[in-house]
């Protein structure tokens, strides 16, 4: 895997689902400063990324799961890895539910939700069986199109901006901004990329690729939030389930280019696919590392089935999911994205210090 592909995959992971749903959460908390909230989220994610980079430095050559084993000992480490496996599983299942929900409520209203998800899973299964290198290549193919569609959206939306919507700035002070940013940052699961760092062809500029993908992804996200506030206004942004889609629906250029939200659908499905596949592959890698397997590709179908079940049991209806995401997900994510990595880093530092001490104590 080359560093450009890593960049694209990080980018896809960052944008993933968030492009569709983040504006509403941010707007609800930070009102007109939702876009500042987005920036705050970016800063927080940057910090998290720096921590992950530190982890990679502390445990060279290890993927995420290997790090846990090294930091906490073999069996405790495996238990922690298992925790992450479950985290990724639930996350991916929830994402799948989100997809089904979006498609059946906005795009294909008469289609049963199950078959929409199964179709997507069919593509996921096909990708999972061919391997991450193929996904990386596909990412390279998709990237120009993602950019192109995004540019079209942005350009088409420019005529509709109402600059007053963004005022007043910082009305509520920094507090709501930071809270909103914090909440938003919990949805970027950058730690997934740490699973794949050992597979890079060369470690030369992986940090640049990592941070670059993160930044570029956030650029998109913040733009979407900004435009959402500028065009839809905060009430609509906060209240609609899929603000970006509502945004796309407003596009009207001349009498011709109307209702081209199909572009947003294509964009979203592509980034969504990248994110879901990254989670899928990290699950497979987790299985391989935890259980010491030679390969995990036979588990693809069973995992897909379980994902479907998770999706059905999580996205029961939008009220439930709204409440769960607000109340429960933040803490759950924070454990995995911040708390445990900190502990791992601390353990790594400790071990290193002990090693240096013991080396110094040896007679030369």
């Amino acid at each position: 895997m080359g560093s450009r592909q890593f960049f694209i995959l990080t980018f896809g992971l960052t944008v993933g689902t968030s492009i569709l749903v983040t504006p509403s959460g941010l707007a609800a908390t930070a009102r007109e400063d939702a876009w500042l909230g987005g920036l705050a989220g970016y800063m927080i994610n940057l910090g998290m990324a720096a921590m992950y980079i530190g982890l990679v430095k502390l445990f060279p050559g290890q993927n995420l799961f290997g790090m846990f084993e090294k930091a906490f000992g073999k069996w405790a480490g495996k238990a922690v890895s298992l925790l992450y496996f479950v985290y990724f599983l639930i996350l991916a299942g929830t994402l799948l539910g989100n997809l089904g929900f979006f498609v059946t409520s906005e795009v294909l209203p008469d289609t049963p939700i199950d078959i929409v998800q199964i179709l997507f899973l069919a593509a996921c299964v096909m990708c999972a069986k061919t391997g991450i290198v193929v996904l990386a290549r596909l990412g390279e193919l998709m990237f120009p199109w993602i950019l192109f569609f995004f540019m079209v959206l942005i350009l088409a939306l420019l005529p509709q901006i109402e600059w007053d919507y963004i005022a007043p700035v910082l009305e509520g002070g920094l507090g709501p901004v930071l809270t909103a940013g914090f909440h938003a940052s919990m949805f970027q699961e950058l730690i997934v990329m740490v699973v794949f760092v050992p597979q890079l062809a060369s470690l030369r500029n992986w940090k640049g690729a990592f941070l670059g993908g993160l930044t570029f992804g956030h650029l998109l996200l913040v733009s979407v939030v900004l435009f959402s506030v500028l065009i839809l206004g905060i009430e609509q942004s906060a209240n609609s389930t899929f603000p970006a889609y509502a945004l796309a629906k407003t596009i009207s250029l001349g009498n011709f280019l109307q209702r081209i939200e199909g572009i947003l659908i294509a964009l979203w499905i592509m980034t969504f696919f990248l994110k879901t596949m990254m989670l899928f592959f990290s699950m497979m890698q987790g299985m391989k590392t935890i259980l010491g397997l030679k390969s995990a590709s036979y588990a693809v179908y069973p995992i897909a089935v379980v994902l479907l079940l998770v999706a059905w049991n999580t996205y029961v209806n939008s009220v439930y999911i709204g409440e769960v995401i607000q109340k429960v997900w933040g803490g759950y994510a924070m454990i995995h994205l911040v708390a445990i990595p900190l502990l791992t880093g601390a353990s790594g530092l400790l071990r290193r210090r002990m090693k240096i001490l013991s080396e110094n104590a040896e007679p030369t």
Partner: protein
């Protein structure tokens, strides 16, 4: 269309499809792991087909993360 039924009935097909690959790997561990995962998946989907209410993952997480969520803004 009852998808839980269809998927449950398709699981044995998966077993058949993956078996040659498993044999080629020649590893007891992989075989055991596959069988385990397969059983879990089939059982879960079968339970869904039978109409049993599976535990909602979010509820379990809610219980686990109660202390942390209390701390957050």
């Amino acid at each position: 269309m009852n998808w839980s039924m269809t998927l449950t009935l398709l699981m044995p097909l998966v077993l058949l499809l993956e078996w040659p690959q498993l044999k080629a790997l020649k590893s007891k561990r992989d075989k055991a792991c596959f069988v385990a995962v397969w059983l879990v998946a089939t059982a879960a989907m079968g339970a869904e087909w039978a109409g049993l209410q599976l535990p909602r993952p979010m509820e379990i997480i809610r219980v686990f993360c109660a202390p942390i969520n209390a701390m957050l803004p």
